[in-house]
Every structure is written in structure tokens, then in C-alpha cells.
């Protein structure tokens, strides 16, 4: 590809530092400039320095992984590269020419395309329509058949399997991701940025994605792969750059990198990667289930069936893990078990007694705590004070409530106790909860919920969006509840987390349980097949 029209004439000397660092690709001629060179990118927002002098070189024919904890500055850096943000300082150099990417359009014209974690497709449109949407090469008179033929040709050229006439809303997450990638590649992208691309994929779909990425790389293009999954980063990337606190800490060859070493770079100190928290030998499991669900069906928010005939038994002293690709009924199941969502069929028993579905306060009163999937939408009222948020579960009874009253001073005392137990430093309890960091919000919610979880804790994606330290705290809390003889229902998108903590794992697919396995018999391949819709029942009983 010739130097694009937008390029400035200034040729930037980057060769000297590039030569020794060609990403281990000895096939590149010496002096080949990086496809992308970011130099000294600095971007500040009120109160934080999101990027601080970040240098990053991505060579042609390279898959470059960007690794970092939440808040390390990965997204900001990519938003600068895709023209969404403008850097405060630093240069973007493409193919050796300094470029001014002042808008997303300029970035696309320069051959930079991004596939976001949450797809930006129109569900009601067909694949062909989505690929051609907002594209200047879309023919002026575009009939469905013309668009579909063009899409078919594009799909063939980039060997991405898509069905041009299918409606995007009917596609699986993996298929939608292929449409997104095709959309980007069709616009002549040479740099493909993928943000957490495997979060929504089954292990098999992830393998398909990796094959497509390797084919793209083989043509001299580059991929920037954002992830926090250490194993897959080592598997797919050529080089790995680690960001921490807005700075680039290191760039490493993937060959020879270890998960432990990368984790240490990410966090800044040597950590025990995950403390395994095995069951204490002889830890009893209650003979009778604490929660028994029989034949549960429920609707989602749009009124469409989301759960079909779910039967699960949850015993005291065990952790039951729920695996599945996001959006297969996990949200609805977590809401049914905590009484937030009414059901259309089936019964729920708590300690053998029938529970009234859809009565969240009643479920909480019978000892079911709930760390919700989305703490800002459900677990907290971000605009209210920390005190008001801390007492959300216990305002009804003494000391805060009683006789229809609300005692602000008692609420303040309870909030201070919860914050102290959660080891969250709160400058002012009158401050809105949104001023707390995500990790501290989750610590507060977790502590508040364990106080009321006398029988069960339902934890939906408790480690999502947290840094390693906060995840440690939460997983330790969950293991402790199990050791105290309480039942835990753990939803997670991290199979490793489920395998490590759970005693049994049930897999949800399309609102149905594909089977329940004792963790000892569960391996990633079997779970992957079940997450893709294969039934495997080895009648996992409570240990």
C-alpha cells in the first residue's frame, strides 16, 4: 500500500531503535519501519494520568498483545490510536510517517480498525447491510442481492465464514464477531485492534478466531490484541507489551514468556498467581439442599423465554459454579435465585420451604445474599451516599429501621462497620458511592452481602472488572463462606476460576442446563463443548 494521502511529508527517523526490535521476525529487511509506532503518548484526564509517555512498536506481520489490569491505560491508548481521543503529548507514526489522527474517520482511512468488546452492529440488519453501513465504497444503488454478493466476495477474500443474508440479531456472538472483523477488514485495515475478543466466545470459537488472526498476520498486517487472559496471550501473540498505571512496563517475546512472569509485570510485584483454595478434607456438605429449584422457566427483560426447565440443587458447604458464554441465561438465573425475577414455571424451595418467587426482600430475609452482575446498575445507587448504600440490606430492621423509621446516625455506624470490615478507606460517608473505585465498590457490596448471607451467597461475576488484589479478597471471602457451611452459587466467565473454586460446575446454554459435572471430572474441552450446546450429564452430585 502506498503512503496514504493524509500522510505528512516528514519522514521520521525511527530506524535506529527499531532494527534490534523487529519482533523476532528475521524475515523483515533491516530498517523496516514499524506499521505503528506510538512515541511518548501521554493522555491525562481530571485527576488521573491515563497514559504516561507510552512507547509501542507494532511490526508488520505481528500479533502484539497488550496486557494490563483494569485502569492500566489499555483502552485509552487504543482510543488515541483510533482517533477517539487526542493525545496531550507524543506522536503516532504509521509506516514511518508521523500522522495526525484527529478523528475516527482519519484512523479508518489510515488503515486502523477496531473491534470493540461490545459489538457495534445493527441487530435488525442483515450481515451484508451491516458490512456496508457507513462505508463510502457502498454502491449508490444497493439492492440486497448486490450487497450480499459483495459481502460474499469479501468473506471469501478474507476467509471469514459469514452468511451475508442472515440477520445479525439471529447470530451467535462468535458469528457477530466475524461480521465485525469483516467490516473492519473490508475498509482496508492493516492494523486490527481487538478488545477482549474471547470474552464472549466458546473455546472452540476462540480457536477459529485465532486461525483467522494468523491468516491476517501472514499477509503482513498487524493485530493488537487486548486481553487479560495470560494463557491465551502467550498462545496467540508474537510479542506482549505490559501496561501498568498508564506506563508501558515492558515488551517481551511471547516465546519464553511465562504466565507468572507476565502477572508479576502486570501487578508490579511477584504474586502467587492464584492461591488455590481447596476444600478442607472432611468439610461436610449438608445432606438436604439449601436451595432446590425444580423445573424453573423465566422470561428476560423483553418478555422472551430466557430459562427453560432449570433444576438445580445447592447444598450447604459447597460451591456450585455456573459456566456459559455470556448471555445464555446467567443474568436471569442469578435474578431468579435471589428473588428479583418472577418465574413462569417451577418451584423454588429454601431449606425445604416454598419461596415466593419475585420477592427479593423475602429471599434476602431468608438468608440469601447477592453480589449482582452489574454493581452500578443493581447493587448500588451510585448517586446516593456511601451510608445509604451500605445499609441497603439492613435498613428494614433495628438498629437502622423499625417502626417505619430510618435512623441516619445508626445507618452511619453500620456503614462505618461495613467499610472497616471490607478494609475500604472512606474519606467521607456522605460522599456519593460513585466516587469510590470499582474495586472498593465491589468490596463494600461483597461485605454487605456476606452479612446477610446466612444460608446462600449468589455471586455473579464477582471478579469482573477488578484488579488482582481485589479478586484475591473476593475469592477468599467466597471460600470462607463455603468453609462456614454456607452454599455458594458462583457465576463466572473465567473457566479457570470456576474449576479452581467450585465443587460442581453446571453449564448454561440457551437458557438450559447442559449438565452438571463434579469439578474433578471437568476439563476445559468438555466444558467448552457444553458451552457450545452439547449435553453431558454425569449427574454431578454434591460431594
Amino acid at each position: 500500500m502506498s503512503a496514504p494521502a493524509l500522510a505528512r511529508t516528514e519522514r521520521v527517523e525511527t530506524g535506529a531503535e527499531v532494527v534490534p526490535e523487529t519482533g523476532g521476525r528475521s524475515d523483515l529487511p533491516p530498517g523496516t519501519p514499524p506499521l505503528v509506532a506510538l512515541q511518548g503518548i501521554t493522555k491525562t484526564f481530571p485527576g488521573i494520568v491515563a497514559n504516561d509517555g507510552v512507547d509501542l512498536d507494532v511490526m508488520p506481520g505481528e500479533i502484539h498483545a497488550l496486557l494490563g489490569e483494569n485502569g492500566a491505560g489499555k483502552s485509552t491508548l487504543m482510543n488515541v490510536l483510533t482517533g477517539i481521543y487526542r493525545q496531550d503529548a507524543g506522536r503516532i507514526i504509521l509506516d514511518g510517517y508521523a500522522r495526525d489522527l484527529s478523528s475516527p474517520q482519519a484512523a479508518i482511512a489510515a488503515g486502523i480498525g477496531m473491534v470493540h468488546q461490545h459489538f457495534k452492529l445493527v441487530p435488525a440488519f442483515t450481515v451484508a447491510e451491516n458490512v456496508h453501513l457507513g462505508w463510502e465504497e457502498t454502491p449508490w444503488r444497493a439492492s440486497a442481492s448486490v450487497l450480499e454478493a459483495r459481502t460474499r466476495a469479501l468473506a471469501e477474500r478474507f476467509s471469514l465464514k459469514v452468511r451475508p443474508d442472515a440477520r445479525v440479531g439471529d447470530l451467535s456472538a462468535g458469528e457477530q464477531q466475524r461480521v465485525e472483523i469483516l467490516r473492519v477488514l473490508a475498509r482496508a485495515a492493516r492494523i486490527l485492534i481487538l478488545d477482549e475478543p474471547t470474552a464472549v466466545l466458546t473455546p472452540q470459537e476462540a480457536q477459529d478466531l485465532f486461525r483467522a488472526l494468523r491468516a491476517f498476520r501472514a499477509n503482513g498486517n498487524a493485530v493488537i490484541f487486548i486481553s487479560h487472559k495470560l494463557d491465551e496471550v502467550i498462545a496467540i501473540a508474537d510479542r506482549i507489551s505490559v501496561l501498568r498505571g498508564g506506563r508501558k512496563i515492558a515488551t517481551r517475546e511471547a516465546a519464553g514468556a511465562t504466565e507468572r512472569g507476565l502477572a508479576a509485570l502486570m501487578v508490579g510485584h511477584e504474586i502467587t498467581l492464584r492461591k488455590v483454595r481447596p476444600r478442607r478434607p472432611g468439610l461436610p456438605v449438608s445432606p438436604e439442599p439449601v436451595v432446590a429449584m425444580e423445573g424453573i422457566s423465566a422470561l428476560d427483560d423483553r418478555g422472551l423465554p430466557a430459562l427453560h426447565d432449570i433444576s438445580l440443587r445447592l447444598h450447604g458447604g459447597e460451591i456450585l459454579g455456573i459456566a456459559g458464554v455470556a448471555g445464555n441465561g446467567q443474568r436471569e438465573l442469578s435474578q431468579v435465585v435471589t428473588g428479583m425475577r418472577p418465574i413462569t414455571a417451577g418451584v423454588i424451595r429454601i431449606d425445604g420451604r416454598l419461596a415466593k418467587p419475585g420477592d427479593a426482600a423475602g429471599f434476602a430475609g431468608r438468608g440469601i445474599g447477592h453480589i449482582p452482575e452489574d454493581r452500578l446498575r443493581a447493587g448500588l445507587a451510585p448517586s446516593l451516599s456511601i451510608t445509604d448504600n451500605a445499609v441497603l440490606r439492613e435498613y428494614g430492621g433495628p438498629p437502622v429501621g423499625g417502626f417505619g423509621l430510618f435512623r441516619p446516625w445508626a445507618a452511619g455506624r453500620l456503614a462505618r462497620a461495613i467499610a472497616a470490615a471490607a478494609e475500604v478507606a472512606v474519606p467521607s460517608f456522605e460522599m456519593p458511592a460513585r466516587n469510590l473505585s470499582g474495586g472498593n465498590q465491589q468490596r463494600l457490596v461483597a461485605r454487605r452481602e456476606t452479612r446477610i448471607a446466612e444460608r446462600v451467597l449468589v455471586a455473579a461475576y464477582p471478579s469482573r472488572g477488578l484488579d488482582v488484589g481485589a479478586i484475591e479478597t473476593l475469592l477468599a471471602l467466597i471460600a470462607r463462606l463455603r468453609d462456614e457451611g454456607k452454599a455458594v452459587l458462583l457465576f463466572s466467565e473465567e473457566l479457570s476460576e470456576l474449576i479452581e473454586l467450585s465443587d460442581r460446575i453446571a453449564v448454561l446454554f440457551n437458557g438450559r442446563i447442559m449438565g452438571t459435572l463434579p469439578t474433578a471430572e471437568a476439563d476445559v474441552e468438555t466444558l467448552g463443548l457444553m458451552m457450545g450446546g452439547q449435553r453431558q450429564d454425569r449427574s454431578g452430585r454434591a460431594p
Binding site: G53, D374, A381, L384, D388
Partner: protein, 350 residues
């Protein structure tokens, strides 16, 4: 080294208050400049107004008559903002409350205290009924209450105009487009005032206390701040919406009764005198706080009174409404600016 503005996630309380005060001064300054451009002497007019309004008991009592309905309509709006909704229909509920009170007062007989209580009860029920349909539509079908409550204002205005000029018209005098004088009156307080003012203040204090110190108040706060969290905690959001909105309608209806029995005495078209709409402004300026409503209602009443006093000098109430509009406008700007603070910019690196 330089300085720059930085946005903070939440406005500091002192900054927000300063912003409001500056907004009011800026609005008055704008009005003054316009007055000066039309050849009037704004400063002299201001001094004249200040003497008349605060220099005598009568002046203060006039403000008291104006502040009473404003406190109540302000509370009516402030209540709904607590649950994240807006009652734009205070104007209509006010009128319907006055109508219900007039119906009771004109058509039933009894000892005065009993009749006043009956009128108040009728007004509160009528106000609540007037907001009932928007309430049900909001709580169960998600219909935007801004529009439904607003539209019912026009229905209420037409209904009152028809009653006052038609079936209930005062046929003894002949000339008036109003009903007969309602024979029951609020007990007087001072020269020209009546007991409506202490009642309105009491309503504001009780509302503020209820929102702070009761379980109902807490649940309302949570449901208003984040309905998702309310569902999560098992708070019956719909029931709270219904209760708060009906209460809001009842308070606005009560305001209509107090206006009728304390100040107007006859039901006529235009009895609500924009109090319902001004109540929105009172609540916005008070940032939804029931106690702050007392102060902002007093401010608004003072402005209205200025319009009345200065009408001798060729100003009319439209000018005053324009000033209140300016205040709201500058307040919105001030609220936004209160989020910013000046910080020292670090010396650029590299």
C-alpha cells in the same frame, strides 16, 4: 506552570451554593441592564421596591401571601424529584384542589373549623385524583409523566373556567366571572395574613423529616436514585411511585384550597396564577430539598411582589416571569460550573 479548569465528579456544596447566589445576582443584573436600556432607573426601582416590601409589616405580609402557595407547590415538585420524576401538573392540581374546596364550601353547611377541614380534605383528594391517571400510566406502563401531568393542566384550567363562568357563576353581582364568595375563611394572622403560611411551613418541615427519618423516605430515595438497586433490595418501586405522586398531587391540591380560603375566596379562572409552574422553579432552585424550598419560595415570592409593587412604574408580571426564567437559566450554568475547580497545570514534560 499554568492554571486550568478541572471537572470534579460531584459539585462541592459550598461551590453549588455560591453558584446559585451568583446566578440570582447575574439574572438581576441582566434585568437591570434591560431596564436601564429602556430608560428606567433600575437601582432606584430596586431601592423603592426594597423599602416597600421590607419596610412595613404590610409589605412582608404581602410576601407571606405569595410564599404560601409557592412553598406547597414547590414541595409537590420536590417530592416527585426524590423518586426521579417530575410533577409538571401542580398548576392543574392546584386549580382542581381549589375547585373541590369551593364545591364543598359553596354547597355544604357546617361550623367553620369542620368545613375548613372538609374543604382541605376534598382539595387533597381532588389533587391526588387529578394526578392519578398519569401516576398509573407511569408506574405500570412507563408513560412519561412530564407530558401527561402537563397536559392535564389545560383540562383543569378549562374545567375551572367553565364552572366559574357557567354553573357556579355569581349571579347576584352579575359582572363577575367567578363563583360566589366562599363563606369559610382561613383564620387570619396579623393584618392581612392567614394561617396558611404556618401550615405550609409545617408541611415542608414534615416532608423533609419524613424523607430523612422514615423507611418510606429511604426507600423513595433509593428508588429514585437507581430503580435497579431498588428492585435488587426488594423495594416495591411501583408502590413507592404511586404513593409519592399521589402525595404530590394532594399537596398541590391543598395549596389550591389554602389560596381559595385564605386569599382568593372566589373560584375563578386563573386562580392558580402560575403557582404550579413557579413551584417547579422553586423545587429546582432548592435542588429537591424540602427545607431549601422554604428559602427559594421566599425568593420567588419576593420577586413576584416586586413585580406587583413596580407595576406602578410600568413593569408588569411578565417582566418578573422573565427574570425568574433568567434565574433558572443562570442557575443551570452555575450548577455546571460548580463542578469545576482551578488546578495548577503541571509543567509539561518532554
Amino acid at each position: 506552570m499554568g492554571w486550568r479548569l478541572q471537572r470534579t465528579p460531584s459539585a462541592h456544596r459550598a461551590a453549588a451554593l455560591t453558584g446559585r447566589i451568583l446566578a440570582i445576582l447575574a439574572a438581576l443584573a441582566c434585568a437591570g441592564i434591560v431596564l436601564a436600556m429602556t430608560g428606567r432607573a433600575p437601582i432606584a426601582m430596586g431601592a423603592d421596591f426594597w423599602d416597600t416590601a421590607t419596610g412595613s409589616t404590610a409589605g412582608l405580609e404581602d410576601v407571606g401571601l405569595l410564599v404560601t402557595p409557592l412553598i406547597l407547590t414547590g414541595i409537590a415538585v420536590a417530592l416527585t424529584t426524590r423518586i426521579g420524576l417530575w410533577n409538571i401538573g401542580g398548576e392543574g392540581q392546584f386549580g382542581i384542589g381549589a375547585l373541590a374546596a369551593a364545591a364543598v364550601g359553596l354547597h355544604l353547611d357546617g361550623p367553620e373549623p369542620v368545613m375548613l377541614l372538609a374543604m382541605a380534605a376534598a382539595a387533597a383528594v381532588a389533587g391526588a385524583l387529578w394526578i392519578l391517571v398519569p401516576t398509573i400510566a407511569r408506574a405500570y406502563a412507563g408513560v412519561n409523566e412530564l407530558i401527561t401531568t402537563l397536559l392535564l393542566n389545560f383540562v383543569a384550567a378549562l374545567l375551572i373556567a367553565w364552572v366559574a363562568t357557567g354553573p357556579w357563576r355569581d349571579r347576584t353581582g352579575g359582572a363577575l366571572a367567578a363563583t360566589l364568595r366562599v363563606p369559610y375563611e382561613m383564620p387570619p394572622l396579623g393584618e392581612a395574613g392567614h394561617w396558611g403560611l404556618p401550615i405550609a411551613v409545617a408541611v415542608a418541615v414534615v416532608a423533609a423529616a419524613a424523607l430523612t427519618f422514615t423507611r418510606f423516605g429511604y426507600e423513595t430515595r433509593v428508588a429514585g436514585a437507581n430503580p435497579g438497586a431498588a428492585v435488587y433490595a426488594g423495594i416495591p418501586v411501583r408502590a413507592r411511585i404511586v404513593a409519592v405522586m399521589l402525595l404530590s398531587g394532594a399537596v398541590a391540591g391543598m395549596a389550591g384550597m389554602i389560596e381559595l380560603a385564605g386569599t382568593a375566596h372566589r373560584l375563578q379562572g386563573g386562580i392558580s396564577n402560575n403557582y404550579g409552574y413557579l413551584g417547579i422553579m422553586v423545587a429546582v432552585l432548592a435542588r429537591g430539598s424540602c427545607l431549601a424550598v422554604l428559602a427559594t419560595a421566599a425568593l420567588m415570592a419576593t420577586l413576584l411582589n416586586a413585580g406587583i409593587i413596580l407595576s406602578a412604574q410600568g413593569l408588569n408580571t411578565s417582566a418578573v416571569l422573565a427574570v425568574t426564567g433568567l434565574i433558572l437559566f443562570f442557575t443551570a450554568i452555575g450548577d455546571e460550573l460548580a463542578h469545576y475547580k482551578l488546578v495548577r497545570r503541571p509543567a509539561p514534560t518532554g
